[in-house]
């Protein structure tokens, strides 16, 4: 099975406090720790596991800058066979549809049976997979938390829905799936693994290679634009307990007792 996985390099929110920069145009990007979007990492692991079962290849693709190459190499160290970087100044300011349009052009340069994305990334929009599927006119399922590849023409996929329930579907290939976290246990990637793929060539395609004009991608084509970043005026929020750890422990026990929190 030929599998393409769309990945994104994002600030790692478990490692960083995200703050707004002084003019509110961006987040404070100095000293941020970046990594592969968590959902995408599960998608790559799933693709590799499918390849190990039924054969084929796994290609990882990203829309980003030169630094996004490190994310492609990390996923190749996991076991993806190929990486593709889609990079061009003309891509900047693209909205969801713009990014999906860039990816669509890259998909059409190859021949894939299965295209995976993460269910969402740092902006929480959860939109690229569904848009890409619609642009390619392929069937789509989101929030996928199980894939059964026992049939050559169609997959049996589980979707995570409300209340911890799972919705089972049969979907014809080729198709696009967005992957939910927890579908597998992504393998660990060591420095040594990344070194092994350090010199593998990663082709880079720009707008003209993909036949994309400014009417289709970039800021000019975007109907949806982020105007700023801000931290909202918040309500009072929690009453923060102050003092030494010992004092906080004592105050908390008092409060818990009063609220019936200690039996």
């Amino acid at each position: 099975m030929e599998i393409l996985v769309c990945v994104k390099r994002v600030p790692d929110t478990s490692e960083n406090e995200i703050e707004v920069d002084s003019d509110g145009k961006d987040i404070e990007r100095d000293d941020l720790v970046y990594s592969v979007n968590e959902w995408d990492n599960y998608a790559v692991e799933e693709a590799i596991q499918i390849k190990d079962k039924v054969g084929g290849s796994v290609t990882v693709v990203t829309v980003g800058d030169q630094e996004s190459e490190e994310v492609l190499r990390r996923e190749m160290a996991m076991g993806a066979d190929n990486g593709i970087l889609l990079e061009d100044d003309a891509f900047e300011g693209s909205d969801g549809k713009g990014v999906a349009t860039i990816l669509k052009a890259a998909v059409e340069k190859g021949k894939y049976d299965l295209i995976l994305t993460g269910a969402q990334a740092d902006d929480g929009a959860a939109q690229i997979g569904g848009m890409l599927a619609a642009l390619l006119d392929l069937p789509y399922a989101s929030l996928v938390n199980s894939i059964d590849v026992s049939d050559e023409k169609k997959l049996k996929v589980g979707r995570e829905i409300e209340g911890g329930n799972q919705e089972m579907n049969e979907i014809e290939m080729p198709c696009v799936l967005s992957i939910q976290t927890g579908i597998n246990e992504p393998r660990y990637v060591g420095i040594r693994g990344i070194r092994k793929v350090a010199s593998v060539e990663i082709p880079t395609y720009g707008a003209s290679d993909l036949g994309l004009g400014s009417d289709a991608v970039g800021e000019g084509a975007a109907k949806v634009k982020r105007l700023d970043y801000f931290v909202p005026e918040l309500g009072e929020g929690a009453e923060m307990l102050e003092g030494s750890t010992e004092e906080k422990v004592a105050k908390l026990i008092e409060l818990l007792k009063a609220k019936g929190g200690i039996k």
Binding site: T13, D95, G124, A125, L135, S142, A238, V249
Partner: protein
């Protein structure tokens, strides 16, 4: 202004809470908006829902087709595409069906798409100004959405006030689904496994998140729960890592709990997690990140590393006994 539509999610003949929230959201875009509800489904359950929402919407478009009996997004999308005017403004909830359905529909309609909107500031020229959150709720953004060719906006459930006026006295109009053939077939819903402890019945929950860092550290959480007489719950990353079973997960993709006291330890407090905490419990949050969103919803907050704080708390509770 373009025509407004609201997509009504429903289950077992009852409309979802979002059905009434979409009305208030539409009024924030245009205070005089007349919103048409769209319900898709089949049979008696659909009739019931259509009649229910007609109390709140002046017009209800009912699309009845056996293929729509379960909301398979690939099928529903076609039914909507066959009926909606291209330049309309469609509002819908940002839930697991919404994520499945609307990004693709926006492409097919060539409409602008904005998801998981938490507030609407109004209209500026041809654009709607909306508010979203990014980075797990750590920062917000203003987004402008050009509605010239229509737009689809999905709204975070529970943040817009429900319009309870129910004075629309609306009419139900039958619409034809059209061709709804799809390459994806719905099979069944597999219910979540029931665990050894039913956290939905617990009065006191000690809930642990990513801040625990390592599976071995869970011991301190179990010890605290034992000292307090509480049950152990958790947030999503703990289940993803397979450190605790799914039946311990609180959130929209896990269980909805209604405790009296909820102790959130090392949990950032995403809306998906807090969406599973109901009944207005006394919430205590312990987190080393002072900007964690959990501190906005908690009653009491403590800025500490749970790995150091929790053992001290357990020891003090046990000593006091």
């Amino acid at each position: 202004m373009a025509q407004f539509f609201a997509y009504i999610v429903h289950k077992k003949g009852v409309a979802d809470d979002s059905a009434l929230e979409l009305i208030s959201a539409a009024k924030k875009i245009d205070s005089s908006a007349s919103v048409t509800a769209i319900v898709t489904g089949s049979g008696a359950d659909l009739d019931k829902v259509a009649n229910e929402v007609a109390a709140s919407y002046p017009e209800v478009w009912k699309i009845d087709n056996e293929a729509l009996a379960y909301p398979n997004a690939e099928v529903v999308r076609k039914a909507l595409l066959n009926n909606l005017p291209a330049d309309c403004i469609l509002l819908a909830p940002h839930d697991t069906l919404g994520m499945d359905l609307f990004p693709g529909l926006s492409i097919k309609l060539d409409s602008a798409f904005v998801s998981d909107v938490v507030d609407i500031e109004g209209v500026e020229g041809a654009a709607i100004k909306l508010i979203r959150q990014e980075f797990s709720g750590q920062v917000s953004t203003h987004v402008s959405c050009d509605m010239t060719n229509g737009s689809i906006i999905t709204l975070r459930p529970g943040v817009f006030q429900a319009d309870e006026s129910k004075s629309a006295g609306g009419s139900v109009v039958d619409k034809d689904a059209g061709d709804v053939s799809a390459k994806r077939k719905y099979l069944e819903v597999v219910a979540a496994e029931v665990g050894d402890v039913d956290i939905t019945k617990s009065d006191i929950l000690v809930s642990v998140g990513r801040g625990i860092e390592d599976q071995d550290n869970l011991e301190i959480i179990h010890e605290l729960a034992e000292a307090m007489g509480a049950d152990v719950a958790c947030s999503r990353p703990i289940v993803d890592a397979k450190w605790l079973e799914k039946s311990r997960q609180v959130g929209t993709s896990g269980l909805t709990v209604k405790p009296k006291v909820y102790l959130a330890l090392g949990i950032s407090g995403s809306f998906q997690h807090m969406g599973g905490v109901k009944g207005n419990p006394f919430i205590v949050a312990v987190n080393k990140n002072p900007k964690a969103p959990i501190f906005q919803v908690a009653d009491v907050g403590i800025e500490e590393d749970i790995l150091e704080f929790v053992p001290e708390l357990t020891e003090a509770i046990n000593e006091a006994k």
